[in-house]
């Protein structure tokens, strides 16, 4: 493991949503090519980056992620033609919400990574891990438990 990744202390947790056609395949390539990169990234494989509902991003933050990485095909290359544009638009608006909510821009990252760019997977994952290490953990205040009665409880 490279020396920069072996620092003691805070280790960020990153949830990554990768589209199966480009970015997930690139991550696979990085693996088969035995490229080393930060183990802080947990990958969720989706059919398309356009499947990333902004609720997924917020749920990841709520459940302990310090950062969220979304990876899709380069503009123009989407397997479904428009999916990556949709996630791009959503990310741009979501970033406005996150800023207002006191969550730093670096915690949400959108990257275009094609199936052949295993080295970009390595670079992006390492960069983001390093940035979040410097930024420190995301500390959301807890949400009070909802007391909505489930059906049949009374």
């Amino acid at each position: 493991m490279p020396e920069t990744l072996a620092k003691p202390g805070f280790e960020p947790r990153i949830v990554a949503f990768f589209c199966t056609w480009c970015t997930y395949t690139a991550a696979d390539l990085a693996g088969t090519a035995r490229m080393h990169y930060a183990p802080n990234v947990r990958v969720v494989r989706l059919m398309c980056s356009g499947r990333v509902d902004p609720q997924f991003v917020l749920a990841a933050f709520r459940h302990g992620a310090d950062g969220v990485l979304i990876g899709g095909c380069h503009p123009g290359d989407c397997h479904y033609e428009q999916g990556n544009y949709t996630t791009w638009r959503r990310c741009e608006l979501l970033r406005g919400v996150l800023r207002e909510m006191g969550i730093e821009d670096e915690r949400l990252r959108l990257e275009w990574i094609s199936a052949s760019e295993g080295d970009k997977i390595q670079r992006v994952c390492n960069e983001m891990t390093e940035q979040l290490r410097r930024l420190g953990p995301l500390r959301l205040s807890p949400v009070p438990a909802a007391h909505t009665l489930a059906e049949g409880t009374r």
């Binding site: 709520r62 007391h147 909505t148 009665l149 409880t153």
Partner: protein, 323 residues
């Protein structure tokens, strides 16, 4: 004997109380069907009258407003004990409502702003409200002002949700009558249709298959065509991501939906879903275009979470106090 009910308000504007009065002649049907045992805004019952009731003696309490102070929490807990069913009445009780946008600030920021910084203020001594104060006349107390606004169901068990700002009259009447007739649905139900507002929008026929928004407009910037889908005119209408039941009253007044009925049943975070729906309509495939569209929304939280910030996944702003 007629079932007893209570109406109570917490952090709210009073519009929900108005909605009950606005039932007009239907309010007579409500009054005929139930005994109102407690309704501070209209009838002279006191907290002691509620305390004197047996536990569960009230068939239902209709509580509007979010929970911001210790007094509101105590009243919600008291009414919970005395009631068979609790109905979260209106957007604030259901989702936090407009008062819930205070979760963008901390308690201290709010008190400083209101009591120390507002330009029109006269407060030379810098007096802030205190929960306990000794004055010549004796010992005074005030309810605690919590750091965050909470929804009613973040404080007590809630049986039913009646959303809206305020809830539409026909839904209020239907809820009261279902209570009287014993035909209430399973607990946990939102007492409004579980479909998006577009399904009952008077302009639905003019909504393009997929509206393409070239620029976001704010209501004061344009004179909207009263017959055409507002999304097709570039106005941010949250109808596609908001529960139906209001009959599109705002849209009939040529104003876009701001989301007061909350999300439909399978949505966890109303603001995120509304943002998702609107963002996907942006007609741009380049960096500048998409960034410019985002800048046309000056207050994204106030736009997409206008009624639901305390109920959202993030709940409140990350402040240094929480770091």
């Amino acid at each position: 004997m007629k079932p007893k009910v209570a109406f109570y308000w917490c952090a709210s504007c009073g519009g929900c109380e108005e909605a009950v009065v606005d039932l007009a002649e239907d309010v007579l049907a409500v009054v005929e069907a139930v005994d109102i045992a407690f309704w501070p805004v209209a009838l002279d019952f006191k907290r002691a009258d509620v305390e004197a009731l047996a536990d569960g003696e009230l068939a239902a309490s209709f509580i509007n407003g979010a929970i911001r102070t210790s007094e509101q929490q105590e009243m919600a807990e008291l009414l919970r004990r005395k009631s068979g069913a609790i109905v979260a009445f209106g957007s604030c009780a259901c989702l936090g409502g407009v008062p819930g946008l205070a979760n963008l600030y901390s308690r201290d920021e709010i008190l400083d702003r209101v009591y120390l910084e507002v330009p029109s203020l006269v407060n030379d001594e810098g007096t802030l409200p205190e929960e306990d104060a000794e004055v010549p006349e004796g010992h005074l107390t005030l309810p605690a002002f919590f750091d965050s606004v909470r929804t009613l169901d973040q404080v007590v068990d809630v049986d039913y949700f009646l959303p809206g700002c305020p809830p539409p009259g026909h839904l209020i009447k239907a809820a009261v009558m279902a209570l009287v007739d014993g035909t209430l649905p399973p607990v946990g139900t939102v007492l409004a249709p579980d479909v998006a507002l577009c399904s009952e929008c008077p302009r639905a026929a003019t909504k393009p298959q997929k509206p393409q928004i070239k620029a976001f407009k704010r209501p004061h910037e344009v004179v909207a065509d009263p017959d055409v889908c507002l999304l097709a005119q570039g106005l941010i209408c949250l109808g596609p991501a908001t529960r139906a039941g209001c009959g599109g009253v705002c849209i009939r007044a040529n104003m876009p939906c701001t989301g007061c009925m909350g999300p439909t049943g399978r949505v966890v975070d109303h603001g995120a879903k509304a943002l998702s729906a609107i963002a996907s309509l942006i007609d741009s495939t380049d960096e500048d275009g998409i960034a410019t569209r985002a800048q046309e929304i000056p207050d994204p939280v106030g736009t997409f979470y206008r009624y639901s910030l305390p109920a959202s996944l993030l709940h409140r702003r990350v402040t240094s106090a929480h770091q």
